[in-house]
């Protein structure tokens, strides 16, 4: 390769085996990054992602570790440090969607949603940040959602978790900007795959009515923005949330 936005960089993408995570891995790899991704459940999905990426010429490794497993994350970062080098790019993507109204929401639904999205981002970032501070370089991209930015018909716990990631982004950007680390966030609207896949048709239709581009987005369209934020081309955008929604 050569001439890519992320040539020579090592990117860690959480939840990279499927959906938007896999798309981000593909785009970052296309832009010259070496990829390490985490996954929590399906070995088959992870193997498929690795195969797909390798077929495209990427250097990739898959790691089965939960974003809530603090020792596991520490081990992962140390292992990568030895085998692949310092992590330059972190994409906090791991998450899931769940359609459930507040009236039926169980406490464990709430905890699981908040833990995976918010605590997972915190634990992963804390594990990776040490190296970034030491190296005085880093790119952290958090994957939020339009539901965390605008008033939408979305599950309360999901919207809360995604809104929290904006706060996480802004505060962390302030805290570590002095070390050459940028922290940004993307807020995709409804995409054709991933967590949007199982949305009720009425929600999808309502979205299309309000979207200036009259279509839902693609995983790749959101991933392209991540690649820019992860690159040195973006040297001054920091603490920002980039909405990728076709103008809703």
């Amino acid at each position: 390769m050569g001439g890519g936005l992320c040539d020579g960089r090592l990117a860690l993408v959480t939840g990279g085996s499927r959906g938007l995570g896999r798309a981000i891995c593909k785009i970052l790899a296309r832009e010259g990054a070496r990829i390490a991704f985490t996954y929590a459940r399906s070995d088959d999905d992870a193997l498929a992602a690795v195969a797909e990426l390798e077929a495209a010429g990427a250097v990739v490794s898959a790691h089965k570790v939960s974003v809530l497993d603090k020792p596991g994350l520490r081990e992962l970062v140390q292992g990568l440090d030895k085998s692949a080098g310092k992590i330059d790019i972190l994409v906090n993507n791991a998450g899931f969607g769940q359609v459930v109204p507040l009236a039926l929401m169980e406490e464990e639904d709430w905890d699981q949603m908040l833990d995976t999205h918010v605590k997972g981002a915190f634990l992963t970032t804390q594990a990776v940040l040490r190296t970034m501070v030491r190296e005085k370089y880093g790119r952290v991209i958090n994957v939020s959602s339009l539901a965390g930015v605008k008033m939408m018909q979305a599950p309360v716990h999901y919207a809360t978790a995604k809104a929290a990631l904006r706060g996480f982004t802004e505060s962390l950007a302030k805290e570590v900007g002095r070390y050459g680390i940028t922290v940004n966030c993307i807020a995709p609207g409804i995409l054709d795959e991933g967590v949007s896949e199982h949305l009720p048709p009425a929600r999808r239709e309502e979205y299309l009515r309000h979207c200036a581009m009259r279509r839902i987005g693609t995983l790749a369209e959101a991933a392209e923005v991540v690649a820019f934020l992860a690159s040195d081309r973006n040297s001054y955008m920091n603490g920002a949330t980039v909405v990728v929604d076709g103008a809703v």
Binding site: V133, E175, R178, Y179
Partner: protein, 566 residues
């Protein structure tokens, strides 16, 4: 940059500036040779001159303060192969014979620093001022701007030290006021730095006036030291403490030999209830040390005092006057004692100053004495590396040759680790303060954020890194609890996070340096309203610079010149 927790309050057109050193110059008006104050204003290097004939003058001698400092430090590099003395700079010292102010060449000789003086009346003399030229020269890199008090007592008329009290050419406010409340003492110490006559105690109303004057001049004082004589011999000592207990005074430190504490538990309990801190003189652990320094064996009395202090958990500073060949082999032992219990908050080493009723006539060789680097070296040797030479740094808010310090962070297992092992103090000089608390300035906050992130990032490389992170987290939790702390509680909580070791070198007729006096921040407030920098007072006013009955300087004024309790 400002000192300690105070904001700069500039009153004069030549300020704000950073005082750096003294240099030889000439008055731009009349050409008379005169010593100038080198200050940095913005980035300019300016010589401030007070000419008795022409008044205040100034001359800009450079446009790049950082380059000036580097060139100044380079003057301290001894040319390879040089035999003999290397001239580093000049200053003004005193003739040890007649106490006249004389020019001193500051020279480096075999790795140490000496003053060479030549008095027209008494002839030449020499004095060792630092056992480590490297430390001495590097200390200048730590110079930091002082803070003006709210009010100066005097305007400059004749220049330093004649107008003292302090005059508005003084370069630092009062960090530590030391109020001498009595000249009675139950010891006659061969190294006594003051001049006791067992004749008078301060009146309550006079003390009240002193405290009021301090608050007027300073606004707030983090500490106020009550000293003497032996202050516990004052018949109304608890009433004096009550007077000083006010919101503007952070803490009261009672400087004592501990004899009364050991004998009078009820009194110690009253001190505890009054919230007083103890400054306990403890110069050694064997009869011969006490006899040589304090005049008699005090082992039993010191043991008794330490027992009461431990029982009541009185917050305590240990004060160890270090004398070469007498007690310098017990430096490690006092450090071990200091580290052994949480109620010992700080340890203050004072290289002996040969001034005062006892000290002025104490047998000494001014060319072979202990100085700050010598104490640090012994601390390293005698603690098996618990403390290292590199753990200590000059304190920037005083003159950097006056005080050296290290902080020790308290870890969860009760042990401690010097801050210098995980903080680059050359980079974060703003964190080097005489204060127990750090002011919430943007500069300090920035420095602390950097330190925390640095330890976080390098925790596997830093000695006891993960434990340090745990301790830092504990400190944050305790210092910034959900319910805000009162000012006094905040100080007490801060004190529990770390211990501090200070080395403060008071001056005498041999190593007196007018440049250091210029930025002195340990002051003796007087009953006539003057606030006197300690070493200037000892040299020119107390009347004991060479022992009892030393003639005062012409401008000298004795302590206790107003009504007192007889």
């Amino acid at each position: 940059m400002d000192c300690t927790s105070c904001d700069s309050t500039p009153k004069r057109v030549d300020r704000p500036h950073t005082f750096f050193a003294h240099e030889q110059d000439a008055c731009p008006g009349c050409g008379k040779p005169i010593e100038a104050r080198v200050v940095f204003r913005d980035n300019d290097v300016v010589h401030l001159i007070h000419c008795t004939a022409c008044g205040p003058q100034e001359r800009t001698v450079g446009k790049d303060a950082a380059a000036y400092v580097q060139a100044f430090l380079a003057r301290g590099v001894v040319p390879e192969g040089l035999v003999g003395d290397h001239l580093f700079k000049h200053t003004t010292s005193t003739c040890p014979g007649c106490l006249a102010l004389v020019d001193a060449q500051v020279v480096i000789r075999k790795g140490a620093v000496f003053f060479l003086k030549d008095c027209t009346r008494c002839g030449p003399s020499e004095a060792l001022v630092s056992e480590d030229a490297g430390y001495y020269v590097r200390a200048y890199a730590f110079a930091r701007a002082g803070t003006e008090p709210l009010k100066f007592r005097n305007e400059v008329e004749h220049g330093c030290p004649t107008d003292c009290g302090t005059c508005d050419d003084h370069e630092q406010h009062t960090c530590l006021p030391i109020v001498e409340v009595t000249d009675h003492c139950n010891l006659e110490c061969p190294i006594c730095i003051v001049d006791n006559h067992d004749s008078k105690h301060i009146e309550l109303a006079t003390f009240q006036r002193i405290v009021d004057g301090l608050v007027e001049a300073e606004g707030t004082c983090e500490s106020l030291a009550i000293s003497g004589g032996e202050p516990t011999s004052h018949p109304k000592i608890l009433e004096l403490i009550a007077i000083a207990t006010r919101p503007e005074i952070g803490r009261i430190v009672l400087i004592t030999n501990g004899i009364r504490l050991g004998k009078d538990r009820a009194f110690a309990q009253q001190l505890k209830e009054a919230g007083v801190y103890i400054g306990l003189q403890l110069d050694g652990f064997t009869p011969e040390v006490h006899e040589k320094i304090r005049g008699r064996d005090l082992c039993a009395e010191k043991t008794a005092a330490l027992a009461v202090i431990a029982e009541l958990e009185l917050p305590t500073q240990l004060i160890f006057v270090a004398t070469r060949g007498v007690n310098d082999h017990q430096i490690g032992q006092v450090i071990e004692l200091f580290l052994s219990a949480p109620h010992f908050l700080s340890l203050n080493f004072q290289p002996v100053a040969y001034t005062g009723h006892g000290g002025g006539k104490f047998e000494c060789d001014p060319n072979d004495r202990i100085t700050i680097p010598g104490i640090i070296r012994r601390a390293e040797e005698q603690t098996a590396g618990k403390l290292r030479y590199t753990d200590f740094f000059p304190l920037p808010c005083s003159h950097p040759q006056c005080v050296s310090l290290t902080y020790l962070l308290q870890l969860e297992d009760g042990s401690s680790v010097p801050f210098a092992r995980f903080i680059d103090f050359e980079k974060y000089t703003t964190l080097l303060r005489s204060s127990a608390t750090l002011p919430a300035t943007a500069e300090v906050e920035d420095a602390l954020q950097d330190v925390i992130h640095d330890v976080f990032a390098r925790q596997d490389e830093i000695e006891r890194g993960p434990e340090i992170l745990v301790a830092l987290r504990r400190s944050l939790d305790q210092m910034f609890p959900r319910k805000p702390l009162s000012a006094r509680d905040a100080v007490q909580v801060s004190e529990r996070q770390s211990k501090s070791i200070f080395l403060h070198h008071y001056m005498d007729r041999h190593d007196f340096d007018l440049e250091r006096l210029r930025k002195c921040c340990h002051h003796y407030p007087q009953i006539d309203g003057r606030i006197m920098p300690a070493c200037g007072f000892n040299m020119f006013h107390r009347g004991a610079a060479k022992g009892p009955d030393t003639p005062r300087a012409k401008f000298g004024r004795a302590p206790f010149s107003l009504p007192v309790i007889q």
